[in-house]
Symmetry: C2
């Protein structure tokens, strides 16, 4: 048995119940991975995450390579030990961040030359170097190095980039990782179903431990993203885990699960928390709103997180408008708990074969006022 492997436990329509096994624990899926860019899920301790039953988090190879450096983290025993996290870690390959954060990029068949967003220093990342970085970090799941195209892009642009990515993914697989690490391939092809199919054909003989769908949630409308998912999730092998990268809203997670996606990551719960936007069972709220100034209710009466058990909206608003550090933390606890709980609810629904009911109930409660939600109702 490979150190990283997926076990399908049940299906309900296209939705899947499963377990992703790693040497840092088994992750019940569908699962959401809180984003821990710089070796911390912003404002939370590992203890906070454990308390919320988070089983896996995401780390960013690009950021950790730039600061403090993967070799330093390796010399200190790897990323798990460095950040005190005993659960599983997936690292991205740096490809997306090089495109979205770094300056003065120069892409060649060999790799990407770029300037650090921190100090402008010149760097070069290739598939081999990305694998070396992720090997040093010691994450459980390593992502292949890919090129990400901007949206919108012409079919020719997407095809050209996709063909480069195919070569880079083969080169990624050729690099020896640590024995406990598994490598996930990434399906590109933009908003073109036929390119998605072509890309899968080009990659399918590569023996990846899991499959990711990349290049979505890049500015396209949700309906288009769901259409692309409809076209490409069915291509993926049933015995491997399916990861929808960088997605998304609570609605996106429910729709992804409905289409057979197993794992997700997104900065939305953590970043929105710091900006005072909170997810509740009845929709989003902006805590800075004056109407919360005297509101003695918890953020979400249906929520069992520490923030909702202990504090009123009035207190949370006070912390936010006062710029208190605790605001970020209490809001983050709530939002991450909301995402993890949403995934727990999908798992329970799939196990009970009532996922369609859950999905309809979710929209009635969470997104009742939103046209996109109405459009997407099954």
């Amino acid at each position: 048995m490979r150190p990283v492997h997926y076990k399908l436990l049940g299906e309900d329509g296209s939705a899947r119940l499963g377990e992703l096994h790693t040497q840092h624990g088994a992750i019940p899926t569908p699962a959401f991975m809180p984003v821990g860019t710089a070796a911390t899920v912003k404002s939370l301790t590992p203890e906070d995450l454990e308390g919320m039953q988070a089983k896996i988090i995401l780390g960013n190879a690009y950021h950790l390579y730039i600061r403090p450096g993967h070799k330093l983290i390796e010399s200190l025993g790897g990323l798990h030990r460095f950040m005190g996290w005993e659960g599983a870690i997936l690292t991205d390959s740096g490809g997306f961040q090089v495109m979205s954060l770094a300056d003065l990029r120069k892409v060649t068949p060999d790799g990407v030359e770029f300037s650090s967003h921190l100090d402008g220093s010149r760097h070069f990342i290739s598939p081999e170097i990305s694998m070396e970085i992720q090997r040093s970090l010691g994450s459980d799941i390593v992502m292949a190095f890919d090129e990400c195209v901007k949206h919108p892009a012409t079919k020719d642009e997407v095809k050209k980039s996709m063909e480069l990515t195919t070569k880079w993914e083969r080169r990624s697989r050729a690099v020896k990782l640590q024995p406990h690490q598994g490598l996930f391939g990434i399906l590109q092809g933009g908003m073109y179903p036929e390119l998605r199919a072509e890309h899968f054909d080009a990659l399918k003989d590569i023996d990846f431990e899991g499959w990711a769908i990349g290049g979505l949630s890049v500015g396209e409308p949700p309906s288009l993203m769901y259409e692309i998912l409809d076209s490409c999730v069915p291509l993926l092998p049933k015995d491997k885990v399916r990861y929808l990268m960088g997605v998304g809203t609570p609605e996106d997670l429910v729709e992804g699960v409905a289409r057979g996606v197993d794992i997700f990551d997104c900065v939305m719960p953590t970043r929105n928390a710091r900006n005072g936007t909170l997810f509740t069972s009845t929709g989003k709220l902006h805590i800075k709103n004056a109407r919360f100034a005297t509101d003695r209710e918890p953020l979400d009466a249906a929520c069992s997180c520490y923030t909702c058990r202990k504090f009123s909206r009035a207190y949370l608003r006070h912390l936010y408008v006062s710029g208190e550090i605790l605001s970020s933390r209490l809001n983050t606890i709530h939002n991450v708990h909301f995402y993890l709980h949403l995934m727990r609810q999908t798992r329970e629904a799939i196990a009970a074969r009532r996922f369609a009911d859950f999905r309809a109930a979710f929209y009635r409660s969470y997104a009742k006022s939103k046209s996109i939600a109405e459009e997407e109702l099954p």
Copy 2:
């Protein structure tokens, strides 16, 4: 028995072991109060504080009056409930903050008119209004409203201010508080032992539940502060708790305890934490220092706090230089734990009647390289 009262349990030289009783628990003394200015000890949850065995925190009447407003907090059930803190709370009177933070102050015999440091709006606080604010907040310990003079100040300036303070303290005592609240008087008199004595004479007939020493740690050298303490602590009644306001460094706490002080508050552990300055059993360190970049040791091998149990100096330096929110929190946990632990050590030493040994050992370990420490060694 009054709701707020002190019980002297033992003495070792001038150092005192005791218990300060409140309706929100008994506080073993000597004790340190972490500062929770705006209804939060910055970056910490009540759970964090409970985990560190904090029994009492300080809240700032001035800040809470300005934002979110004491009436709002009262309507939400008081400060304890608002911030989710079940331990004891002492509130200051706002006098010090009006002097140090507010603009365009105008002091009259009636009170102080000033502009808010947040939005420039005009406000007025008198002894009666300070009592009303603190009554609304519902703190366990209410501080009398005083005027604070700048240091240095002439004897005439100090005397004039002190005489105004005497009147304000009498007016403070005349205001009815909540049944669970106790009122502490404040001894002023600047750096003039004879004025300190005169001020105590002027106040001693007022039936305060405890005594504070104000107007110290305002820029004078530690040796002068200790001299003033030597002159005025012996004036205070033995059956009341003694509170040294806004003090101080670890050395100041040890010296205060040695002179018979029971409780302390200071922003130093929390503010320094956010600036990356950490207190350890062998002295202070600045975590941003490059020499910690590869340091796999905990901040303080002798410390049992969450930060020291889980993380390396290298990780804490990474969080600090990356501007991560978690940096403030982990550093604050450590520094507050250090202060609380220092107080626990003084209590154990007094109980065992080996406080002099403890004090000497503290200087050998913590402050061995500091001339001030050497000067002050008993």
